[in-house]
C-alpha cells in the first residue's frame, strides 16, 4: 500500500506557496474581470508570509499546513482568510501526529477540509466558487480509490478533476461573493477562487505523489 511521510512535508507547502506567489498577477487578473481584482494579492500575501516562516525549517506536512491555516485565518482576512484558513487548519488536524499518510487518511483529510470550507462559506457546487474545483476533486479521488486504483492514480484523478472543475466555472453564473452582483455578466470567465484552488490541490497532489513509497 502506497503512503507518504508526514515528516519533511513542509516542502510541499513551500512549493504550493511558491506556485501561488508566481500566479499573483494571473489570479488578480481573473478576479478583476468579475470581482475586485485582488485575489492574487490576497493569496500571495498569505502564502508568501507562510513560506517566509517555513523557510529553512524542517516541518511535517501537518505542521506546515497548520501554520499556513493560522496565517490565513489570523492575518489575511477577506473571504479567503477564513475559507482557506479553515481548509488548511482542518487538513492539518486530520493528519496531526500521524507518521505516514495513506489514501484513506488523505481522503479523510480532504473531506474535513471541505466540510470546514462549507461550514463557514455555505456555498454549493455550481455557485462559481472554489467549491467547483474542490468538490469534484475530492469525489474523483474517492471514486478512484473506491474503484481499486492506487494512491498515485487517485492523486492523478484528483488533479484532473480539479482542473476540469476549475474550467467548469467559465460557463457558470456567480451566485455567491462579489461576482454574484453581476448576474449574467459573470458568465464567460474563470472564477478566481476556483483557479487558486486548482493550483493548491495540484501542488498538494504532486508533492504527495512524488513522496509515495
Amino acid at each position: 500500500m502506497q503512503t507518504f511521510p508526514n515528516a519533511g512535508g513542509g516542502a510541499i507547502v513551500e512549493a504550493m506557496a511558491a506556485r501561488i506567489v508566481e500566479n499573483r498577477a494571473y489570479l488578480s487578473e481573473i478576479d478583476g474581470k468579475i470581482g475586485d481584482g485582488d485575489h492574487g494579492v490576497n493569496m500571495a500575501k498569505g502564502f508568501g508570509l507562510a513560506a517566509e516562516r517555513l523557510a529553512g525549517r524542517d516541518t511535517t506536512l501537518a505542521e506546515a499546513l497548520a501554520l499556513l491555516g493560522d496565517v490565513l485565518m489570523g492575518e489575511i482576512g477577506g473571504s479567503m482568510g477564513p475559507l482557506y484558513g479553515m481548509m488548511f487548519t482542518e487538513f492539518a488536524e486530520a493528519i496531526e501526529g500521524v507518521e505516514r499518510i495513506d489514501a484513506a487518511l488523505f481522503s479523510t483529510m480532504l473531506h474535513k477540509g471541505l466540510e470546514g470550507v462549507q461550514s463557514i462559506g455555505s456555498a454549493k457546487v455550481g455557485d462559481k466558487t472554489l467549491l467547483d474545483t474542490f468538490v469534484p476533486a475530492v469525489e474523483a479521488f474517492d471514486a478512484a480509490t473506491g474503484g481499486g486504483r492506487s494512491f498515485a492514480e487517485a492523486l492523478d484523478a484528483l488533479v484532473e478533476a480539479a482542473d476540469k472543475g476549475r474550467d467548469s466555472t467559465i460557463d457558470l453564473v456567480a451566485r455567491i461573493g462579489r461576482a454574484s452582483r453581476l448576474g449574467e455578466r459573470s458568465r464567460g470567465v474563470l472564477d478566481a477562487g476556483a483557479t487558486s484552488c486548482a493550483l493548491i490541490l495540484g501542488s498538494l497532489a504532486e508533492g504527495a505523489a512524488r513522496r509515495l513509497s
Binding site: D36, G37, N42, G81, G121, I176, R181
Partner: protein, 333 residues
Amino acid sequence: MQRFINDPDNVVDDTVRGFVKAHRDLVRLSETNRRVVVSTAAPRQGRVGVVTGGGSGHEPAFIGYTGKGLVDAVAVGELFSSPTAKSFHDAIKEASGGAGVVCLYGNYAGDNMNVKMAQKLSQKDGIEVAVVVANDDVCSAPPEEREKRRGVAGEIFMWKIGGAKANEGASLEEVRATAQKAIDNCRSIGVGLGPCTLPAVGHPNFQIEAGTMEVGIGHHGEPGIRVEPLKTAAEVARDMARIVLDDHALPSGTEVAVLVSGLGATPLNELYILNDTIEAEIVGRGLSIHRTYVGNYFTSLEMVGATLTVLALDDELKRLLDAEAHAPGFHQA
C-alpha cells in the same frame, strides 16, 4: 493614479500608524494587534462595548468612528477586504467592559465569515457578542431579499445610534435592538462617476465610461442597477432620492436624517449641489429633515461619486442621533 504611498502592500499599516499619531486624544492602537484601533475611553466598565470593522480604503470609515459616544474598537482589514476573525476577536476583547459587546458591521461575505468566527472565539472567552449586519444599500438586492443587501453609509447612523445607546447604559439586547432598528430605518444608494484603483493592483478593476454613470454602485465598485448617460446634478439627485424613498415608503410627516457622502474624489461643493435637490425632493414628499450631514463620511479610495442615505427617525433614534459624539471622523456637540 498618482498617490502618496510607500510600499503598496503596506498602505494599511502606514495609514493606521499615521491615523493613531494624529488622533492620540481619541484613539490608540491595540497593544496586541496592530490592526485594531481602540477608543481611549474603552473599555468602559459595565457598559456594552461597541465594535465594528471592515476593509480599509473607506476612510474615515471605519477607524474614524472610534471615539466617545461612537465605536469603542475597530477591526481593520486590508484595502477592500474584511479584517481577520482574529482582529474582530481582538477588537471585541478591547471593547469588552463586562456587559457584552455588540458588533455592528456591513453585509459582505468576508465580514460575515470573520465576525461569525470571532463571535465563537469571544464566547469561549466568556464575552457575549451580539451582531447587527447593515444592509442599507437598496440597489444591491430587491426588497424581498433585503438580507442580501450590502451595508454602506447607513452604517454610520447604526454606529452613531448604537454608540449613543450603549453610552446610556442600555443592556446588550437593548443596544443590539436599537442598532438594528437604526439600520432597518436606513436606505442608501450610490452613484459612481469614476472608478478607483487598489494600489497593489495598479489599474481600476471596473470602468465607468466618460459621459456615463453607474446608478446603484457599491462601495467597492460593485455594479449597480443601470449604467446611463451622466445627467445634471439635479436629475441625478432626484433619481437618488426617489430610488431611496420609493424603497423606504415612509408616511408623510416622518422626520428623517440625511447623509450625503462623497466617494473620495468628488469635490465637496458637488455634494452640496446634490443636497440642494435631494432636500427639495425629500421635503416634497412630505417628510421633514431633522439633520443633514454632507461630506466625505464613507469613501471608496478615489472613486468619483456620491451616496445618499436616508434614516427614518422616531423619538428614540432622534435622541440618540443628536447625542454628543467625538471621533476623528465625526464630531457632534
